[in-house]
Symmetry: C2
Subunit: 187 residues, 2 copies
Amino acid sequence: MNYPNNLKKTYQNPLTYKNRGMDLENELNESNSYYLEINRALIYKKPTPIGVADVSYSPKGKVINKGFFKEPSTLDYNGLYRGKYIEYEAKVTENRTSFPLANIHKHQIEHVKKVLEHQGIVFLIIKINDIVYLLKGNDFIDFLKTNKRKSIPYAFIKEKGYMIKYSYNPILNYLDIVDQIYFEEEV
Amino acid sequence: MNYPNNLKKTYQNPLTYKNRGMDLENELNESNSYYLEINRALIYKKPTPIGVADVSYSPKGKVINKGFFKEPSTLDYNGLYRGKYIEYEAKVTENRTSFPLANIHKHQIEHVKKVLEHQGIVFLIIKINDIVYLLKGNDFIDFLKTNKRKSIPYAFIKEKGYMIKYSYNPILNYLDIVDQIYFEEEV
């Protein structure tokens, strides 16, 4: 795992300190396990697609001797929440001023548009400057339509995104934000 | 690929003949690609979960030198159709009189119950005696509740299931059946 060089700057924040050893993916996996446990939502990380080039058979089952990671055409997480389809991608950037769009594949952008069109809930979870934001799929697509930039400025994320606070359990209670913005509820 | 020994018996049926070289998974993958192309539904096969035990780095990217297949806790296919969450598992049996329940893991059965509870569309697609059936998740769970058998009799599948016919494109037009049974439409 790589820690940014500027980590010491945030070392005094107890929450940041507590979570610095756990990356965003683990934080979301743990939050989703918690949601599953309390039966609030069924959301899973999709396995990374693997191309298997060589397998052999052992007494314990098939073993992959050569494989490679393939580029995903959908987003990392999907599932079912309050009777609705939900899908999102989670990304961390060490960049302090903007979120580089190179983090999201072209196929994934097309997929976000399609999920919106088919009335699913779709968003990005972006960790930037040690803060986690939920950026709605339509705000993301709107940005792409009106900008030729290769990154989303932090100011845009702060303005349009919703901050997801760290808590004890779930670590990232992003479904409270989803309730608020997609089910129009006060939390 | 393994062909059943009794294949010659069905050799004269042109549709069976046409499709015998393609297994159910490929038939569904092609049907889903077609649905995606005509923008009818967004349904993907989840990658098989892989445990990666050893990787190395090549100029072309990360290479897996040792990996193994993990047991899935959800179903094979999921996605979004007409604003609803949809999920299913596809299985072929060479058994002519029943569908062995060993084909479905315990975690997957629990998952089917949860998807029903959270108001998703969930079902099994079972190919038995060269016929493809859609068996609704609640009929499957009802069977398990009222039976101690280790397999579902073919008679039950014929009675409760919905036959999915082979066609040119999509090869298996199962969404017409989904329309009929989940959206109460005449097709």
